[in-house]
Amino acid sequence: MRKLRYVRIVCAALVLLLISGVFFGLPWGQPLVHAQLIPALLRSTGAGWTVSIVLLGALVLSTLIIGRWYCSFLCPFGILQDVISRIARIFKPKHKFKPQPKVTWLHYGVLALLLIPAFMGSVAGIALLDPYSLFGRFINSIFDPFIRELNNLGAWIVSKTGHYWIVPVKIYWPPLWSMILTSSILLLVTAAVIWNGRVFCNTLCPAGAILRFLARFSIFQLRITDTICNRCGSCERECKTGCIDRKAKTIDFSRCVLCFNCAEACHKDGVQFQLNPIWKRNTSRKNNTSSPAKQTPGASASNRDQSSSEQSAPSSQHRRLFLRSGVIVTGLITGAAGYGQGRGQGKGRHGQGRHGDGVPYDHSGFNYWEPLHPTLPPGAVDLDEFQSHCTACQLCVNECPTHALVPGFLQLGILGFQQPVFDFSRAYCEYECNRCTQLCPTGALTPLDLAVKKTTRIGLAHFFKGHCVVHTEGNECGACIEHCPTMAVTGIAYRSDRPELLLPHVNPALCIGCGICQHACPVEPEAIRVNGLTEHETADAKQSKPLENVPDLSEGFPF
C-alpha cells in the first residue's frame, strides 16, 4: 500500500507532461485529453460519441470500483494543484493539512448552478470551472506566451552570433481579459492549495462533484484499520483533501482523491482498501467483529462513530439513491448538449441562406464601422450545437498553426464566453489545415477531412469598396486578390482612365471565409472583412479553365 503514492506521483507527472504536450502539438497525450470527464460526457452526444461512451464507461466503472483515482492520476488541473502544493512545501516544510468540513451540498449546489446555462443550450457554466478546461486556459493564456517569449529571446541572442538554430516563433498574446481572468483563478486556487490542499476539488469542481457522488458507492474504499490505528494523526496531516478524521479513525471516501499520502504516512500500514459496507450482504454486517482483519474495521468503527454508522445503514436504500441520482446528473449534462443540438437543426440565426453562383451578392446590409458576426472554427457546423459542447479548453486556440483562433470575450454573447472565434486581423484560417477539427475533445468541432474542410464555408468575405485604397487613393494594391486560396477574390478593371487599377471582387460561391483577405488588407479597419456564418455551408471548388496561348519556346525566345 505504501508504495502506491510513488506510483501515483510517477503516473501523474507523466500525464501532466503528456497533456501539456498536446497543447504544443505533440500527439501522444491525445487519448488522455479525450478521457477527460466533462469533455467525454459532452462528446458522448456529439461527433465521435462511440469512443467517448467507452472512455466514459471506463471512468465511471473504475470510480465505482476504487473511487476518485481520476482526480490524482488523470486530471491535469488536480495534478497542477499537487505540483503547486509540492512547491509550497519547499518553503514551508512542516506544513500540516487540516481536516475540512464536508460541505457536500455546497459542492452539489455549485454543480447545479453551473448547469443553469445548460437550459439555454450552452455549457458556459460548466466550462467556467471544468478542471481540464481551466488547465487548458492556464496553458493558453499564461504558460504558452511565457515559453514563446523565452524561445524568442534565445533565438535573437543566437542569431546575433550568425546562427539560426533556435527558430523564433510568433508571440500571439491572448486577450488581456483572458490573461487577467485565468491568472486570478490560478492565484485563488494557488492560495487555496497553500492553505489546505485540494479545496477546489471538493467545493467547486464539477467533475469532482460527479465523481464524489460515484465514490460514495465505490465497492472498495480506503479505510483505516481500527485494530492497528493508534490515532497518531500522521495520515490526517498528510491528507490534502482534509477528509480524514483522526479521532473517529474514518476517511470520508467521497472526498478522497486517492493520492495515497495517508497510506504512505501511516507507519503501521493501517490504511487499506476495504469493501464498502453498503455493498456487503446483510449477514456480513452482523458478523463484522469476526471478519478477517482486512475487512473488519469499517463496521467495527461504526459502533463508536456516528458518521460511519450512517454508512452502514440499509444498503439497498443507498443503491437505489445512487442509481436514481446518477441517472439525473448524467441526464442533465448530456441533455443540455442534446438540447442545443436540437435547437440548431434547420435554422441559422442570421439566416444567410445558401450562397450559390446565381445569388446576387449584396454587401449593402453591412456597416463598415460595425463588427461583423464572429467566425467559428471549421467543424463547428452550427452555432447552437457548438455552444452546447465547447468548454473553452483552448486546445484548438493553442494548436491553431497560424494562431488565428482566440478565446472570444462577448462576441458570441454571454453564453459563448471564452469559446474560440477567429481574429482575422491577427491571422487567418490556413487553407491546408484541419487540425482544430481533429483535436476537439468535447465534440464541439466535428472532425473534417482536409478535402471537406477546404470547401467548408465558415464565413463570407464582404468588400467595402468605399474604404479600399484602390478606390480611395487610386493605388494599386491587390493584397486580398493575391492571397485568396480559392480564387474567390479576383481583380476587375473598373476605371477606363486607369486600366491598370484592379478592384477586388468577391465571388461568394467560391469564398470559404478563411479570412486571409482580411488579414492581408492594409486598410484599418480592413476594407474586406469576413462575416461569420452561424450555420456552416459548402462552397464550390474553382474549376480551372484550359490554358490558351501557352508559351512555346521550341522556335527560340520571343525576344
Binding site: Y164, E430, Y431, E482, L502, P551, G556
Partner: protein, 301 residues
C-alpha cells in the same frame, strides 16, 4: 567596402577570369564577351543553370572564396513544386551547390512567406533541397531579424525593414519564378525582392508598384536566376490546379533585374509595357527594358 563596390569588383574580376579562358569557351561566349543576360531553354533546371553559369564563366565570376551568400527564392506559398507557386527546388539546390563550389563560406536561404512559413518551407521542397546542398535555411517570419535601412533614391518608400541575412551577406542571389499574379499581373525578380522586407502591408497601402521600383534602387542582387521551368499561367500567385501550370523549360540568368523581367514577361506572353513596376524601375535607373541594347546570349539544350 560597401555592397556596390563589392559587386563591381566581383563582376570585373569575373570578367578578367573569363577573358583569360576565352579560348577554351569560344563556343559559348558571344563575340562581344561577357553576356548581360543568358537565356536557356529546353533543359532540366539544374542542367540549364549549369549552361547559363558557364556562359558567365562560372559562379566564381560572382562569388569570391570565403564570401557569405544569401539566396532568396520565392517560397511564398504553401504549395508543392508541381504547382509552380514557388521557385523550383532543384534549381535552388544546384544554385547552392554552385555557391559552395565557388568557395562561399556560407549560404543562407530564406523568404518572408505569405502563408505560414514552416508549411511553405517544407511543402515547397526548398528547405530540404537547400539543406541537402549545405545551405542554412533561416526563418523570415520574425520581426526580430529585420533591420531598418534608408532608401535614399526611393520616391515613396524612403526607409524599410530588411532581413539581416541580406544585410550581412556579401553576395545576394535573387531567385524568382515566372508566374501569373492576380494583382501585379506577373511576378518576377523585382517583385520577388518584396520578400526580403518586413512590412508588406505598407507597400500595398502606399503604392505597390512604386514601392517595388523604389526598393530595387537600394537592393540590387549580385545575380538573378529566373526560374521559367514550370510556369503558372493563370490563377496566380497561388494557383488552383495543375491545369494552371505549363511546362515551359526556360531559365534566365543575369544582373539587370529590369531586363530579365522584360524578357521573362515576353516568355510569359505578356507586354512589358503593361507591367507598371518595370517602367518605374527603369525611370529610376535600376536597369533597362531595351533588350536590343544588351548582349543577350541564347542557349538551346
Amino acid at each position: 567596402m560597401d555592397r556596390r563596390s563589392f559587386i563591381k569588383l566581383g563582376v570585373s574580376s569575373g570578367i578578367i577570369a573569363t577573358s583569360g579562358m576565352r579560348g577554351l569557351m569560344a563556343d559559348t561566349i558571344s563575340p562581344s564577351g561577357i553576356p548581360d543576360m543568358v537565356a536557356v531553354r529546353n533543359g532540366e533546371p539544374a542542367q540549364m543553370l549549369d549552361a547559363a553559369l558557364k556562359a558567365f564563366g562560372g559562379m566564381k565570376s560572382f562569388i569570391k572564396p570565403g564570401q557569405r551568400v544569401c539566396v532568396k527564392p520565392n517560397i511564398g506559398w504553401d504549395k508543392s513544386p508541381e504547382m509552380a507557386a514557388n521557385t523550383n527546388p532543384e534549381l535552388v539546390r544546384r544554385t547552392v551547390e554552385h555557391c559552395f563550389e565557388a568557395g562561399a563560406r556560407e549560404v543562407v536561404v530564406f523568404d518572408h512567406t505569405c502563408h505560414r512559413w514552416q508549411a511553405c518551407y517544407s511543402n515547397s521542397g526548398i528547405e530540404k533541397a537547400a539543406k541537402e546542398a549545405g545551405a542554412k535555411v533561416v526563418s523570415g517570419d520574425s520581426e526580430l531579424y529585420y533591420q531598418e535601412v534608408e532608401i535614399p533614391n526611393g520616391v515613396v518608400l524612403k526607409k524599410d525593414k530588411v532581413h539581416q541575412a541580406i544585410l550581412e551577406a556579401d553576395v545576394v542571389i535573387n531567385m524568382p519564378i515566372i508566374k501569373h499574379h492576380g494583382a501585379a499581373r506577373i511576378t518576377l525578380s523585382l517583385k520577388n525582392l518584396m520578400g526580403i522586407n518586413w512590412d508588406r502591408g505598407h507597400w500595398h497601402h502606399t503604392n505597390l508598384n512604386q514601392c517595388i521600383a523604389d526598393f530595387s534602387t537600394r537592393f540590387k542582387p549580385t545575380l538573378n536566376i529566373v526560374d521559367g521551368y514550370r510556369v503558372l499561367m493563370q490563377n496566380g500567385p497561388i494557383g488552383n490546379s495543375l491545369e494552371d501550370v505549363h511546362l515551359v523549360k526556360s531559365l534566365l540568368v543575369g544582373t539587370d533585374m529590369v531586363a530579365l523581367d522584360t524578357a521573362a514577361t515576353r516568355i510569359f506572353g505578356g507586354n512589358p509595357a503593361d507591367i507598371s513596376y518595370l517602367s518605374l524601375a527603369q525611370d529610376l535607373g535600376v536597369g533597362t527594358m531595351d533588350l536590343a541594347s544588351l548582349n543577350v546570349q541564347r542557349i538551346a539544350l
